[in-house]
């Protein structure tokens, strides 16, 4: 807790001041809750018959669960593909051959700075015109393509900075026992780098999960889209979005907790971890202090959607 840096142990006067601020905080919280509830009451959004549908199995079976599954499906496929993409281009950026390094850098930097939605709209149109996939599959394919390209680039940066953050002695030791540079990368650096970036990788899944909601714009049936349908079917738009938001928050929060657990476990085994640089974008947190040169650079893109 940063309080230790900023504040001394409170004396009697400071304690009185804290008590005052506590009261102010309580008032602020109550005021906020009151404002929201009043607005909702004015629009009669608090009436029970708007909320009771969420207690029925039907709402869950027909709307919310298909929505969650749609979101998870897109996110899971994208994450796997992004992992592969990231590994390929991350290693490409570490290559001994300058042409490969150069091409990989351009690809990674490009896809990191293009908004995911722009990619999705483009690929959606492209797939639809050329009948690349079954027409039902087009939205999913476009969502997955967009998410893969963007998040793959982020993973590529993670791989690269993961390798850079290892002590030099690791590669020097490998070279000195006669391994070739690519053998050093493959059997010494990558395994360590991948373990170190595990928490960051899980954190990146939060971004993927959130960004899959962009599929709403290209008619992909994920949680947000299903909630909209649910809202029109039961005439309870506001409650439907609130429940959807809660579901997203719970899923993402669980991922964040998982990332933290993995990180703690790794560090208790004496490993240093590469901190999540963005995903949970609390990441930049420590990003600037870890791992030297490239880690800072990774932050840039990561909040989308």
């Amino acid at each position: 807790m940063s309080t230790s840096v900023l504040f001394d142990a409170p004396g009697p006067r400071a304690r009185r001041r804290y008590a005052l601020l506590t009261m102010l905080g309580v008032l602020l919280a109550l005021g906020g809750i009151y404002f929201v509830l009043r607005k909702m009451a004015e629009a009669s959004q608090l009436s029970p018959d708007l909320w009771t549908p969420f207690l029925t199995a039907e709402v869950w079976q027909q709307y919310l669960i298909p929505g969650i599954l749609g979101t998870l499906k897109a996110a899971a496929i994208s994450m796997v593909l992004a992992g592969i993409f990231g590994l390929v281009f991350g290693i490409g950026r570490l290559s001994q051959v300058s042409a490969i390094r150069w091409v990989s850098s351009v690809v990674v930097e490009f896809f990191r700075s293009v908004p995911v939605l722009i990619m999705m709209i483009f690929f959606f149109g492209l797939y639809a015109q050329n009948n690349v996939f079954d027409s039902e599959l087009n939205p999913l394919a476009a969502v997955v393509t967009g998410l893969t390209l963007y998040n793959g680039s982020v993973v590529a940066e993670l791989v690269r900075s993961g390798v850079y953050s290892l002590p030099r002695g690791q590669s020097e030791a490998g070279l000195s026992i006669g391994l070739s540079p690519s053998q050093v990368l493959r059997s010494i650096q990558l395994p360590q780098a991948l373990t170190a970036m595990l928490p960051a990788l899980i954190g990146q899944m939060v971004v993927v999960l959130k960004d899959s909601a962009l599929g709403y714009a290209i008619t992909y049936l994920e949680l947000l889209n299903w909630s909209k349908t649910l809202g029109s079917a039961y005439a309870n738009t506001v409650p439907a979005y609130i429940v959807a938001a809660l579901l997203f928050i719970v899923m993402n929060y669980l991922l964040t907790v998982a990332a933290r657990l993995v990180e703690r476990r790794l560090s208790s085994r004496g490993r240093t971890t590469l901190h999540d640089v963005g995903p949970v974008q609390g990441g930049p947190d420590r990003a600037s202090t870890v791992g030297g040169t490239s880690v800072q650079k990774m932050g840039p893109t990561n909040t989308a959607g």
Partner: protein, 221 residues
């Protein structure tokens, strides 16, 4: 490519993107600073409120916030930010939602800056007799600010890219125009490149600037 640039006003769309980004950046900086102060304050309830704010808005998709702002807040709750203009209302809501969403990340960026300051710095300041205000002004905040440049830069770049999400509520910024073009003319590499390069031009120099700034101003430890 040329006919698209002739037929559609791509620059106007990007101008709207820049406007959205500019106002949301200011908004998120203001809200984010308040939330950050709450999170690092010594008062438990303020900390909790700040933490809740961050956890809620960092884990909700921006798309959901955008869609809610029109379908929920405007239509049902009747909070209209520009009663006489549908487009203005959407634009203002987009700025509000972008600000609220990114404030969570701004807060974390600022807080991470504070966290880079070693406790010894504050202790040293106190032990030479500085008051709270003095130690803040001369010792802690200058270092904290430098430490948060890099993450703030990341947040700004993410914000610029996220302005595209406003397209889902019909704001005619870059992504909105692009989906209109794709609908009318079909999708092509040319169209994609125009818009993609637009964003590369907007974000790449900022990335370089923030990286070099954070390096130049980094506190040597």
């Amino acid at each position: 490519m040329g006919d698209i640039l002739g037929e559609y006003d791509v620059l106007a769309a990007f101008w709207l993107t820049i406007q959205l980004a500019f106002f949301s950046a200011i908004g998120s900086l203001l809200i984010g600073t308040v939330v950050a102060i709450m999170r690092v304050s010594p008062v438990r309830i303020l900390q909790l409120l700040g933490t809740w704010y961050v956890n809620i808005f960092r884990n909700t998709p921006l798309t959901l916030l955008m869609v809610f702002s029109i379908l929920g807040a405007t239509f049902i709750l009747g909070i209209n930010l520009a009663p006489d203009s549908i487009t203005d209302n959407a634009k203002r809501w987009a700025i509000v939602m972008l600000s609220i969403y990114h404030a969570a990340f701004v807060c974390e960026a600022l807080r991470s800056g504070v966290n880079t300051v070693p406790a010894g710095q504050a202790e040293a300041a106190r032990s030479v007799g500085m008051t709270f205000g003095q130690s803040m002004r001369h010792v802690i905040l200058p270092q904290a600010f430098r430490g948060s440049i890099a993450p703030l830069g990341s947040t700004l770049i993410a914000l610029i890219k996220n302005t595209t999400v406003a397209a889902v509520i019909g704001v005619a910024e870059a992504a909105g125009l692009m989906s209109e073009i794709v609908e009318n003319k079909g999708s092509s590499i040319g169209i994609f490149l125009i818009f993609a390069l637009g964003f590369v031009i907007l974000t790449l120099p900022l990335g370089v600037l923030f990286t070099s700034m954070s390096r130049r101003l980094a506190v040597k430890r």
